[in-house]
Symmetry: C2
Subunit: 168 residues, 2 copies
DNA sequence: CTGCAACTGAGACTCAGTCTCAATTAAACT
DNA sequence: AGTTTAATTGAGACTGAGTCTCAGTTGCAG
C-alpha cells in the first residue's frame, strides 16, 4: 500500500465527518501533494496539475488546500515571501525554518529551549499564545562555499537587517 | 523643534547622498509617519493622505516607503497577515512581536536569550543569518479579561496551531 | 437508481503592490 | 532670478495571488 493511502484515508474521514465528499479532484491533489512535494506553493501545484489528464481549476486547488489545512494534514507557512507556502504535517510538528536567500533551500530545525523562551515571554506579558511563526533568513552552507551573493537583497530583509547591508 | 525634524534631516541626508530629491510629497509622508503612526500599513497611510491638502498617489506612497526602508528610518515587517506592515526604527532595534488575534494589538518584546538560541542554531546548521522574523500569535491580557473569541480563527493559524482548535 | 447537496470550472473580481509615461519640479548652475 | 536637466509625480494600466459566483456536474445516502 503506497504511503499516500494513509493520507487519503485520513482526508476521507475528515470529509465524511462533515458531510463533505472525496471527489476525483481532491484525490488527485492529495496524491500529488503527498506523493512528491514536501514544501510547495499553491501556484506550483496548480501548474503541476495542468500536466495531468484530469484538469483541475485554480479555485479547486485553493479550496482543497484550505480543507487539507483544516484537516491537519497540511500546514500553511510564511517563508518570508509575499505568498504562502504549504508543507506536510508529520509527527514532529513543532519546527521552524532557516531559509537560504541565495538558493531558496528551506532547512527545518527544532529547538525545545527556544520554545521554552517563548513560553517564558508569554508568561511575562500575560499573553496566551496559540501559534507562532519564526524564520531565520540567511545563507546556507552550500551557498557559502560557492561564495555566491544573494539574488534579491532588497526582498530579503524584513526584520532587523541593519542598514549597513544596503547597496545603492 | 518637533521631533519629526530629526527624521526629515536624516532622510534628506540619505537622499542627497544618492542624488535624490526631498520633494513636497516625501516631506509630507515623513511628517505623517513620524508624527503619528508607529505600526502602520501602506494602504492606511495612503488613505490618511487622501484627507490632506496635498494629494499623494498610491505609487508615490509605495516608492517613498521603499526609500524610507532603504534609509533605515522605517522597517518592513510581517505581522502574520497577508500584507506588510511598517514600523519606525528606533534605537532598540532588535525586537519581535506578540500579536493579539482578537484586537490586533501588537506588543513588542526583546529577549537576548532567544537571540542566543538562534545564534546557536545557526552555528549548528552552519548557516549565516542575515535577519529573522518572529511573531507569536495569541490573545492579549485585555482580551482575555473580556473573554472574547478571536474574530477570524482561520486567518490566524500559520504555524504549529494544532488541529484541536478547528471548528466546523 | 435516484435526488440533491456538495462540488466543479470559467472567468469576473479583489487587493496589494508595481510599472509606464507624459507632465512637473527640486536643486545645481549660470 | 532664470535655465537646465535629471529626478519625481499622478493616473491609470498591469500583475499575481487568492476569492467569489453561478450554472452545470457528481458523489453518495437512501
Amino acid at each position: 500500500m503506497p504511503p499516500v493511502q494513509r493520507e487519503l484515508n485520513r482526508f476521507q474521514d475528515f470529509l465524511s465527518g462533515r458531510g463533505l465528499k472525496l471527489t476525483r479532484e481532491r484525490t488527485a491533489l492529495v496524491r500529488e501533494i503527498f506523493g512528491t512535494h514536501y514544501h510547495f506553493e499553491a501556484d506550483e501545484l496548480l501548474l503541476k496539475m495542468k500536466g495531468k489528464s484530469l484538469k483541475i481549476s485554480r479555485a479547486t486547488v485553493y479550496r482543497t488546500l484550505e480543507l487539507l489545512v483544516k484537516s491537519g494534514l497540511v500546514r500553511r507557512v510564511h517563508l518570508g515571501e509575499e505568498h504562502y507556502h504549504y508543507e506536510h504535517v508529520r509527527g514532529d510538528s513543532h519546527h521552524d525554518h532557516l531559509i537560504c536567500t541565495t538558493c531558496g533551500t528551506v532547512i527545518e530545525f527544532q529547538d525545545p529551549q527556544m520554545q521554552a523562551r517563548q513560553h517564558e515571554i508569554c508568561l511575562r506579558k500575560k499573553f496566551i499564545a496559540t501559534s507562532h511563526n519564526l524564520q531565520i533568513l540567511g545563507i546556507c552552507e552550500t551557498c557559502q562555499k560557492k561564495g555566491e551573493r544573494p539574488h534579491s537583497p532588497d526582498r530579503v530583509q524584513s526584520i532587523g537587517l541593519d542598514a549597513m547591508l544596503l547597496r545603492k
